[in-house]
């Protein structure tokens, strides 16, 4: 048996284990056994466990990963131990490549070459099935600058056969050319030390482990590997890494519900880490390895410890609870580290470490100073960028809170709209002069309430923005606040959100790699800062409870303030005014077309091949006498639409501030997968769904909260003919969908009676605030 794959597994990770089983069954070589350390019984006799390789299960005492790996080591029988975690996976050639290396000396620490990603096995397999590409790797999940860009080409025998002369090439060289790897031995043995100190993906000779009685630290729950790996390093003479990554390490993008060991929120993380370093360093006798490990640990202290210890630190990891205990531990650890390594640390950091080394005291001021200097250094490096944010952190958040100031932000400062606008207007009318209103705006945005009484408009991320963000007692925001926002005691945060959810949100989203892999964690932290969350209907309450993991008791069951305009008694008069403002003849009826933005229409930065699938020429020809068409598209494509050819039939109002006003003037809505119809249905006017790509959209629709076939208050139309037919016969459509419309309204718009803003204001503000 060539390899023994060692996989520790917790009962909660069983589904991952089955994924790994599938992955291992695809390996190009099957000359291995799989040893699973798991404390719940597996039915290995079941047919789906009949695999071309042997599978053994072992149980272990306790719950730590270290204990699990130790138990598996005992049961392994292969020549080489391969450490694969249950959430990770291998490329099909991983073990075959390693097996092909000849000679692979027993005193080698071999590595399958880790490739970090946030893409789980299921999603990677799905993309491979769609379009199989041999050299495909999942989306890179590490630091951008570290991404491996090149694939080394392993030559085949035919290439080697095209040498022109008969030179004798050593078999080891020929083998290397066909199965390339990098080797660190001799002088460069301790290069890539960080990489060598990661257990997953390592291939280690079993005899060596057995002879030297090497084990993992079963008592350290978080860092069991250091002691084992440092001893393996001490007993090996070379580090060999395959030239191309073959071990895919999956990082977890939902640390809230499914944290990896490294993401666990543990208050004594630093204590456990230092304890593991201490044990490891004590046991190292080789001076060069001692120096290398000292360097490694000191760099980690220098890089990460101070932020965790600094006053008011906002480090992502759990802050240290028992500071004196940790300092004592550090004091003892620092007695062991090499002087030479300490001398290489930068001056300020060395000063701190030396102080702790001499005496177990906590140099608070020096640590705060180094953290502040680093923050300042970052701003200087970016030529002043971030100076306002730094001022926010350092000074503005220490200034007194202004009890009568309200800060508003709608769609990240893109416009003056949505529920914050409704709340603002209501307060201005009902409580004039009671508050100072501050609106956040992006540069160049028009339509902001500049010049209104008691109102100022501030530039997003500017100085005044930072000042008011820190000092305003009330914040009314419809998307998310910045990640670095500090919720100060005494302030109140109203999250109005911006729509009834149609597509799966945050924690309901599949575990796929998104733009920011830590989106779920960040969202969770941000939403904990919200004092109230406005909801439009019971459906939203239910969804937000699981999608945002937000407590129901903090939700305001009020309806959306922005929709009050749609139920206002003077809505017809307002509609006439808006029509006049837009230059639309009063006698024309209005079709509002609001399609969603499709990801696949986008192909490259700055370019959108968005084309309107709605046949506007035909619409104009057949309905032009009675109707005009108002277009409302995603702001990404607003600038790319050319509607000049359609004369006065088409009004492109994609950049119009307030979509509610467009609802008010329109007589019929055509949309598709956009959530605009929830609000529009308040008006009880006909809604048509032009879903020309319904079949293609299937995979996306599976991520919807609604069943598009059953739950909608209007017809699904797939062709322009269908749309025209429906428009020609709107009374019939209304009649056909009357029952569905009534059910829909009851489900989604039962709370929209035109007084949502009042309910929100009364709940959010205390009576004393309004006096």
């Amino acid at each position: 048996m060539k390899f023994s794959i060692i996989t520790p597994c917790q009962p909660s990770e069983l589904s991952q284990l089955l994924e790994l089983r599938h992955n291992l069954s695809l390996q190009a070589t099957q000359d291995f056994e799989w040893v699973i350390a798991l404390n719940v019984p597996l039915d290995l006799d079941a047919t789906d466990w009949h695999l071309p390789f042997a599978v053994h299960q072992v149980t272990f005492k306790g719950t730590t990963v270290g204990a699990a790996r130790n138990a598996a080591l005992q049961a392994a029988t292969g020549d080489w131990l391969v450490f694969v975690d249950s959430d990770d996976y291998l490329t099909p050639n991983a073990l075959a490549e390693m097996a092909a290396i000849a000679p692979l000396a027993a005193d080698t620490l071999a590595d399958l070459y880790q490739f970090p990603t946030y893409e789980p096995h299921t999603s990677f397999v799905a993309s491979q099935q769609q379009l199989p590409i041999k050299d495909r790797l999942p989306k890179w999940g590490g630091a951008k600058r570290r991404q491996p860009k090149n694939h080394a080409v392993n030559l085949n025998e035919a290439t080697l056969g095209s040498l022109t002369t008969d030179i004798t090439v050593a078999p080891a060289t020929l083998n290397w050319l066909q199965h390339k790897y990098t080797l660190n031995s001799g002088d460069n043995r301790w290069e890539q030390f960080n990489r060598q100190l990661k257990i997953t993906g390592k291939v280690i000779n079993r005899q060596l482990v057995q002879d030297q009685h090497l084990t993992f630290d079963a008592d350290n729950a978080l860092y069991p590997d250091y002691t084992f790996l440092t001893q393996v390093m001490a007993h090996t003479s070379a580090y060999l890494r395959l030239a191309n990554p073959t071990y895919i390490r999956v990082k977890h993008n939902d640390p809230v519900n499914q944290p990896s060991v490294h993401q666990l929120d543990v208050p004594d993380r630093w204590q456990q880490r230092v304890a593991a370093w201490h044990t490891s360093l004590e046991a190292i006798t080789d001076p060069e390895l001692h120096l290398a490990f000292s360097r490694y640990s000191l760099y980690r202290l220098h890089r990460f410890l101070y932020m965790a210890l600094a006053t008011g630190a906002t480090a992502e990891s759990a802050t240290v609870t028992d500071v004196p205990g940790l300092i004592t531990q550090l004091h003892n650890f620092l007695q062991l580290v090499d002087e030479e390594a300490l001398g290489e640390v930068s001056m300020l950091s060395r000063h701190i470490l030396n102080r702790i080394r001499r005496q177990p005291v906590y140099p608070r001021h020096a640590i705060n100073r180094i953290v502040h200097l680093r923050q300042l250094g970052r701003v200087i490096k970016h030529r002043g960028r971030g100076i306002t944010r730094l001022s926010y952190m350092w000074w503005f958040t220490k200034m007194p809170i202004k009890s009568k100031t309200i800060l508003y932000e709608s769609f990240l400062g893109r416009n003056f709209s949505d529920s914050p606008k409704a709340v603002y207007n209501y307060l201005q009318t009902t409580y004039p002069g009671k508050f100072k209103h501050v609106w956040i705006s992006n540069p160049g945005v028009t339509g902001m309430p500049k010049g209104q009484p008691n109102t100022i408009v501030v530039k997003r991320f500017g100085w005044r923005y930072m000042y008011y963000l820190a000092t305003a007692k009330f914040q009314v925001i419809n998307m998310r606040q910045p990640k670095w926002f500090v919720k100060r005691p005494g302030t109140k945060f109203l999250a109005t959100w911006h729509g009834t959810p149609l597509k799966h949100l945050v924690f309901d989203m599949d575990n796929v790699a998104s733009a920011n892999p830590l989106y779920k964690q960040i969202f969770f932290q941000q939403s904990r800062q919200w004092d109230y969350l406005v909801t439009a209907n019971q459906f939203s309450v239910d969804v937000f409870e699981h999608a945002f993991m937000y407590p129901v008791e903090k939700m305001l069951k009020s309806g959306y303030p922005r929709n009050d305009i749609l139920s206002a008694p003077d809505r017809d008069a307002r509609a006439r005014q808006i029509k006049e403002k837009l230059g639309i003849p009063q006698d024309k009826k209005i079709i509002l077309y609001a399609p969603t933005w499709r990801d696949d229409d986008y192909y490259g930065v700055g370019d959108y091949k968005f084309t309107l699938k709605l046949d506007i020429n035909r619409l104009k020809r057949e309905l032009g006498d009675d109707y005009v068409l108002v277009l409302r598209t995603h702001y990404f494509i607003t600038e790319h639409l050319d509607t000049t050819g359609f004369g006065d039939f088409v009004y492109n109002e994609s950049s119009y501030d307030d979509i509610a006003e467009l609802y008010l003037i329109s007589d019929v809505l055509i949309t598709d997968y956009s959530s605009v119809f929830f609000d529009y249905a308040i008006l009880k006017r006909p809604i048509l769904y032009f879903v020309y790509d319904y079949e293609k959209y299937g995979s996306v629709l599976r991520g919807f909260y609604l069943d598009m076939e059953k739950d909608l208050p209007g017809p699904l139309l797939k062709t322009n003919d269908d749309v025209l037919a429906a428009l020609h016969n709107l009374p019939q459509v209304t009649k056909d969908y009357a029952a569905a419309y009534a059910t829909f309204s009851q489900r989604f718009n039962a709370w929209e009676d035109g007084h949502a803003t009042q309910r929100v204001v009364d709940a959010f503000f205390d009576k004393t605030d309004l006096q």
Binding site: N150, H151, A152, L155, A158, L160, T173, W176, K180
Partner: protein, 310 residues
Amino acid sequence: MHVFINVVPQTKLDWACLSTLVGELTSQHFAAASINLQLPAGQALTTAQQQQATEWGLTVNQSPVTPAPLNYVINLRENDHILPGALQQWAQVITNHPGSPISLAAFDLQQSLDDQIMAYVADHQESALQQTYRQLVTETIDDPDERLLTLWSLQSYSVQTNLQNVRLMTQRIRPTGILLPTELLTSTLPLVSAAQAFAILRQATDIVRLHVPTLQRAMWAEATPIAWLDELEAIDPAQLDVMWQPVYADYFQRQLNAILTAAGHKQLSKPAHTALLARIKQLTTRPTHHWSRLGLLQLLSPRVAHQLFY
């Protein structure tokens, strides 16, 4: 998989060069390749040459193989050289990443191959792969095969998605020396043209770059500046998508500058150089960089510019 090697002479066919190239190709014993000679208009092979061509298995004026994901075309000049093992290396990249155009690194035809290999190896001595290789072999690299092995030890490729990178377009738009996937060929464009390579680049989702040279060839802008200008002029920017127009305009200006620099190396006759300057001056659209040759040409007459640049 099939690689269709299309040999296109620049002007008059140099039979000796063709013999060398065909020898280099056939000695690689790569079965999945066919060689075709595309003769310039008005030229024909002699009977002896025809007979020789048949012996080599060389077709004349044939069109490429049928479009398939693993079928590729590469255009070459008859005076280009193929390094040993090249076809096998291309084949490996094609198998690993089918359907994408493959841009090939190349050595220059004007300089000694051995010197270039030595310089290349010296440039990459810090590479972890080469360091490992050096641990395995102790010999110096005096022998041509040793040099070749060292080159192979470094061989790697990358899959690049930054298709609109202007700096890299120089290695991606070339009439010769790029492996073109047959599925992306545009039948209305000449097979051997910058326009064809550019059309493929625009359709592709990514492009593969084979980093270690497998070819030795001449730079178009340097060897044949006038022909290169013709090639560039054949691309009509007005027909491009909105996203490609500014990218191409930038690339075009850079290429004009490159031509101006290369043409100053006295390969062209004086009248030809002045005529080229006049042509470029007419083609240039502002804004140009003031301190580039192109910027200066805007301020001067072609004759004065000729005095200055030549």
